[in-house]
């Protein structure tokens, strides 16, 4: 398959595909982080996670239109405002959903799956009624457009770099929040032993709601970042949901580090194969490999040693 390429070209191909894989990796990590918190820590399967992400994307879209129409002078920084609003909107919706639906279903994880699937249908149709069935894209500010030319064949897009930087920042933030801050300790305490956590004075219901809202909020930010590299449609969330669940399960549901490692493996192998095979075959092979490995090692790559 390497016939007709020089060594330098093959290197460049791998570098370019590797970079494309890194962008995919960023999207996976952002989506999977929220899911790892909700699914890994709380054990709730949120099939509407993709729709929370799309909510963030639509908030960004509205924000970009608003800035372009009313305050064009500040258009260069609209994205940061949009990201914050996306976090708030998705988080607020998440808290509402937790209160109305999820908290009644903590003992029935498979039923949450069905209920949140219903929620995702409703949200999809809501987006379609409000924004139309066609995909929408945002206008990037000037400083995010264009690319660096590293060598004469390797180009690096600035918006891709920006999304990666953002991912890094959010991941570190979430890591600090979960492992260093008081809130994270409470979350982990509640998930490991709900009764004991309640006994030492943690308001477990409140922690549940905040955790779910946080996971949804991160999904909103992911959606916001997603608009930088692709367009948004009402059903775009559904395309990613299975991959994201596989990323989380493959990484070992309880481990944030595992989630990142598995997002990296899956995205890199998929984008490397995409160059040589068709996109759909690359995806089939990647998913098959993941499912195969999960059959051999059901607990995922990184797993906590827990006594059951």
């Amino acid at each position: 398959m390497f016939d007709g390429y020089t060594m330098g070209e093959i290197g460049a191909i791998f570098a370019m595909q590797g970079f494309a894989g890194l962008i995919l990796f960023s999207v996976f990590v952002l989506m999977a982080l929220g899911l790892a918190i909700i699914f890994g820590q709380m054990g709730v399967i949120n099939m509407a996670h993709g729709e929370f992400m799309i909510l963030g994307a639509y908030v960004t879209y509205l924000c970009s239109n608003f800035f372009a129409d009313y305050i064009p002078a500040l258009f260069g920084i609209y994205f940061f405002v949009a990201m914050f609003l996306a976090f708030l909107a998705a988080g607020a919706l998440g808290a509402l959903v937790e209160w109305a639906m999820i908290r009644h279903l903590y003992r029935r994880p498979l039923d949450t799956l069905l209920a949140t699937w219903g929620l995702s249908l409703i949200l999809q149709q809501t987006y379609r009624s409000i924004f139309g069935a066609r995909e929408v894209g945002v206008t990037l500010p000037d400083w995010l457009m264009g690319s660096f030319a590293l060598t004469d064949i390797i180009d690096v897009q600035i918006n891709g770099l920006f999304v990666m930087g953002l991912t890094l920042l959010i991941t570190v933030g979430v890591g600090l929040l979960m492992f260093k801050a008081r809130f994270g300790r409470q979350v982990r305490a509640v998930m490991q032993n709900r009764m004991m956590a309640g006994a030492v004075g943690i308001d477990t219901e409140k922690v549940d709601r905040k955790t779910f809202a946080l996971g949804c909020g991160i999904a909103g930010v992911a959606g916001s970042a997603f608009t930088m590299i692709g367009s948004t449609g009402p059903t775009a969330g559904q395309l990613y949901i299975v991959d994201t669940f596989l990323v989380v399960v493959f990484g070992g549901a309880q481990s944030l580090l595992g989630t990142i490692a598995s997002a990296f493996t899956i995205s890199q192998s998929q984008s490397a194969m995409e160059f040589f095979l068709s996109g759909s075959m690359a995806k089939v092979l990647t998913l098959l490999t993941v499912v195969g490995i999960l059959m051999l090692r059901p607990q995922g790559l990184f797993s906590l040693k827990v006594r059951r």
Partner: protein, 373 residues
Amino acid sequence: MARILNMDRTQLLGFVLLAALVFLVLPLALDAFRLNMVGKYLTYAFVAVGLVLCWGYGGILSLGQGVFFGLGGYCMAMFLKLEASTPEATAIQSTPGIPDFMDWNQVTALPWFWEPFHNLAFTLFAVIAVPVAFAFIIGVAMFKRRVGGVYFAIITQAVAAILSILIIGQQGYTGGVNGITDLRTLLGWDIRTDSARTILYFVNGGLLFVCLFIAAWIKSTKFGRILVAMRGREDRVRFSGYDVSAFKIFVFCVAAGMAAVGGAMFTLQVGFMSPTFVGIVPSIEMVIFCAVGGRLSILGAVYGTLLVNWGKTTFSETFPELWLFAMGAVFIGVVLAFPNGLAGLWTDHVAPRLPRRLGGRPRPEAAQPAPAE
């Protein structure tokens, strides 16, 4: 019959009522077009009945039943397509005698795995054998490693995604996103006429009742009780000396086989098969048919399937925008408010008020089975 299945009078009455509805009321009340449509709905009921066993009783939620429905349907469709692509009928193609979509995709010879589907006996065998074998492989791999619950659901979902992407991607061998269309005859018998469709409807109904009897029989045996026990406390069943994984594999294969028969009947009645019946979305919809009917009720699954699909057709004919809202609300409502579906409503509210000889029974004291996890 009733004695073999350990049925009491109420259950028998339920079977008789459903049989009357399927074989008498619907064929008399509906025209050929609508009857064909109900026949299509009833093919989904095969999947729902399988899910009652697998999910309701066994507690194994599979989100990949569309895979087995699709495999069964594709096996049937391959046979019908080969029969429709005689060298005479396809004389205008650059390679006559192969299905039209292969010709469009520059495939010049029939792939090896299509060859055996010239034979009807092999096809009928494959309709059941291929999906069951596939389910067996998945089942052995998952259940022997004690993967269950949520993880199993996610992995079956991934399998559904993989298969539908594969079918769409391999256009030359599978017909791609359009599926296998333009199916005409079964051994020279035109399946597109109204009379043929009516006959197929009755064959379909008959097969559905065979599945219902199998399900009722499984439920009434010791195996059925072990399934329920496994759903409640899997470890205790294992400590009692039962091989839990073997039971799970078996019930998963039974559910897959039923789904496959439904898929094959779907192809025969509707006249095509496409990847839209394989992926994640149809697979989850099939779970909701079962949940609406009541995950613990074999007959309820049939009613649930009919009701949801009837609702889908009426809604999408009149208010296409509202359909997804309604479907979403059904998902949430059934899970939150009626975990035992229509059958639960019946046993809780209707049956206690019926006179005893019609099958009415006093309200059971706290006998309501807990919904499966």
